[in-house]
């Protein structure tokens, strides 16, 4: 049975721009594993078609049928995660076996400590004054 897992080390509720992301990818396969890619990307959601923004890809040539490897990524300045009524954006890191397309994914948010990513906030939003 082919197994591929990915885990964020020291998982936080939210990461900030410039933070270092430490990722452990573990695989366990019966056949020759082949190369694997670890992809850091953001993805949009909501009413519009999904857009994927790949920020960085690191490649690994797996030597044995099972093993694990640690990867490090530095998060860019943006974009930050947000959740609106019409659209949303979040981040993910995905391990993909290039040939078989077996994959594992971890989703996380990127933003400031105070920000939960919600666009519409009762405290911060002013009602648009009537003209």
């Amino acid at each position: 049975m082919n197994g591929l897992t990915i885990k964020l080390e020291g998982m936080k509720s939210s990461y900030g721009p410039g933070d270092e992301l430490s990722v452990i990818a573990t695989w366990n396969s019966q056949e020759a594993p082949g190369p694997m890619e670890i992809r850091l990307f953001w993805f949009t959601g909501g009413m519009s078609p999904q857009q994927i923004g790949i920020v960085e890809i690191q490649t690994l040539e797996r030597s044995g049928p099972s093993g694990f490897k640690n990867f490090k990524f530095v998060l860019p300045e943006g974009p930050r995660s947000f959740f609106g009524v019409l659209a949303s954006l979040n981040w993910a890191i995905e391990a993909v076996a290039v040939q078989s397309k077996i994959h594992a994914r971890a989703i996380f948010t990127v933003g400031t400590e105070e920000s939960e990513g919600l666009l519409y906030k009762g405290a911060a939003t002013e009602e648009r004054p009537e003209e």
């Binding site: 900030g16 721009p17 410039g18 992809r39 990307f41 993805f43 949009t44 909501g46 009413m47 519009s48 078609p49 999904q50 857009q51 994927i52 923004g53 790949i54 920020v55 960085e56 860019p76 300045e77 943006g78 974009p79 930050r80 947000f82 609106g84 009524v85 019409l86 659209a87 954006l89 993910a92 995905e94 993909v96 397309k101 077996i102 994959h103 994914r105 400031t112 105070e114 920000s115 939960e116 990513g117 666009l119 519409y120 906030k121 911060a124 939003t125 002013e126 009602e127 648009r128 004054p129 003209e131």
Partner: protein, 560 residues
């Protein structure tokens, strides 16, 4: 009940399609198959015994010209004769020049090549059959594709989604927003095809022929037939064309031609045609210009008639096709090359460190002037076409093409005039100009806004707001008379509106310091969704109406 209704409608549409297919197949199929088969016939040398152009009535109002020919050839030592020019029952066409050119090529006494049916050697033709009928047959399939294109695209989208789920595609490979859409390719291809066809047939080809006519020789000719022919078209109603035939002598041989000028203007006014026909009755002695290299080619007037309708339509369709392919290419390029740092900079927006000057674009006075020019460009052909159309109506003739396109151009002119008035009013009113320091503020940071008014007047009210808007582009299908179509619309929603200044007793110039909340989402420019910021200026001058302008700004992520 609704499901049964849809099912009956699909059955009906399917039966109609099959009926059209059968009718077109019966009408064009046998000729097309015979033409196709002739390409496998054996090429055999032959000698032309006699040839002449003959006419025969194709219908009560249409005359066809064909080559009446007899030739002999040998097959397995046996001498055979044939009188067939080409395959199919219809040997001729309305183009007399074509028959004349064939008569010159296959003049009596000349040696040529004929094509012999291997199954029946007595059956031979001088030319392979024309395969144009196949194109008409294909159009039976193309029309339903055009009408049902939205359903076809949706089916492909659904299938792709199912395959993606079945194959468990990784999330990082599901970039739907940057996937080049089939629609863009389809409409781009249609636009380019129609644009090139219009330019090619109505502009480029006549221009080329006219440029080649410098050495054409003037000779005497006599009008044999000259009348305006009326036909009913499904798209434009009654259509008029000139049915002309004149004879001339060149190099000791008599020729016939039906060409009046260079050009295939589809918007040739019927009043002009009728006037020309009245001035050139049957038997009139005229001068014509003959191509010395190809004496079957001749024109009465070396004018270039290019109507504005095919140029305008061709330009629009070609431009639309280029735009669709441009958008397709952009999506492909972004999907393949916009990664890493380039992607981050693209989606966060350009950083401007200095002062950002925000003005109303386009400048109202310039825009008004542009509208005047646009109105003049549209107004001239509108006036010309409508004048010709109404003149035709006075003679009880329906010059629908000039009336239709004249009205469209007139509507365009009216819209230009309306826009010109709108921009002029805007130019006469006070216009805000803003300066933002720094040019690209950050979330969680402060920035200064300075404002002043061009063409200042005392203000009764002035308010400024910093507003954040989320956007999402959504494609929606809707029924139309040409079948289902889809449209991509941008949905917008304001998620934050921060007052900058709400000073009721306002001066025409001022400044304010704005503190952007740390939790505010910065600008994000995605392909199908976005977070945008703008400064909204709402004001009212004394005695004037309330005006509002929005000035876009870029908000960068909070600094660490």
């Amino acid at each position: 009940m609704q499901h049964r209704g849809i099912s009956w409608r699909n059955w009906f549409l399917g039966l109609c399609f099959i009926a059209i297919l059968v009718l077109v197949g019966c009408a064009l199929g046998p000729d097309f198959i015979a033409a196709l088969r002739s390409y496998r016939w054996k090429a055999t040398p032959c000698k032309i015994l006699r040839s002449e152009v003959s006419t025969y009535p194709f219908s009560p109002s249409v005359t066809h010209y064909s080559l009446k020919v007899e030739y002999k050839y040998s097959h397995n030592g046996e001498e055979l004769h044939s009188t067939r020019f080409t395959t199919g029952d219809r040997q001729g066409s309305t183009d007399v020049g074509k028959a004349e050119e064939a008569a010159v090529r296959f003049a009596p006494g000349t040696h040529a090549t004929c094509y012999v049916n291997p199954s029946d050697p007595a059956d031979a033709v001088l030319e392979h059959g024309e395969l144009w009928g196949g194109l008409v047959f294909l159009s039976v399939f193309i029309l339903p594709v055009i009408v049902m294109h939205e359903s076809i695209f949706r089916w492909f989208d659904g299938r792709r989604g199912k395959n993606r789920d079945l194959n468990h595609l990784p999330l990082s490979e599901r970039n739907d927003a940057l996937r080049p859409e089939l629609r863009m390719v389809f409409f781009g291809f249609l636009g380019l095809l129609i644009g090139m066809a219009l330019f090619g047939f109505c502009v480029a080809y006549p221009l080329w022929r006219w440029s080649q006519s410098r050495n054409w020789v003037m000779t005497d000719a006599t009008v044999i037939q000259c009348q305006v022919k009326q036909e009913l078209s499904a798209q434009h109603g009654p259509e008029y064309s000139l049915e002309l035939l004149y004879g001339y002598d060149y190099a000791g041989r008599q020729y016939h031609s039906g060409q009046r000028t260079f050009g295939m203007a589809i918007d040739l006014p019927v009043v002009d045609l009728a006037a020309w026909v009245a001035a050139h009755p049957v038997g009139t002695a005229v001068k014509c210009f003959v191509d010395p290299q190809h004496p079957t080619e001749a024109v009465l007037e070396k004018n270039l008639e290019i109507g504005w309708v095919p140029v305008a339509l061709g330009t629009l369709m070609f431009g639309f096709g280029i735009l669709m392919f441009g958008r397709w290419w952009r999506a492909w390029w972004m999907g393949h090359f916009l990664v890493g740092k380039k992607l981050t900079e693209h989606c966060l927006g350009k950083r401007k460190n200095g002062i950002e000057h925000l003005r109303i674009t386009p400048p109202p006075l310039l825009a008004a002037i542009a509208c005047v020019f646009g109105g003049m460009i549209l107004g001239a052909p509108a006036y010309w076409s409508l004048r010709k159309g109404f003149q035709a109506l006075l003679h009880w003739q329906g010059d629908m093409i000039n009336l239709l396109y004249g009205c469209a151009a007139a509507a365009g002119t009216g819209w230009m005039i309306y826009l010109c008035g709108k921009f002029l009013r805007r130019a006469m009113n006070p216009r805000p100009v803003l300066r933002v320091i720094p040019g690209t503020p950050s979330a969680g940071g402060k920035f200064e806004v300075k404002w002043e008014f061009q063409n200042p007047k005392p203000l009764e009210k002035l308010r400024l707001y910093l507003e954040g808007v989320e956007e999402a582009k959504v494609r929606r299908a809707m029924p139309s008379m040409h079948g289902e179509v889809s449209e991509e619309k941008t949905n917008r929603s304001i998620f934050l509106s921060l007052p900058i200044s709400e000073d009721a007793t306002s001066k025409p110039a001022g400044m304010a310091c704005v503190e952007v909340p740390d939790s505010a989402m910065h600008s994000f420019f995605g392909e199908k969704c976005a977070v945008r910021w703008h400064i909204r200026v709402n004001f009212q001058s004394q005695g004037g109406s309330v005006l509002e302008y929005k000035f876009p700004i870029t908000l960068r992520p909070a600094k660490k």
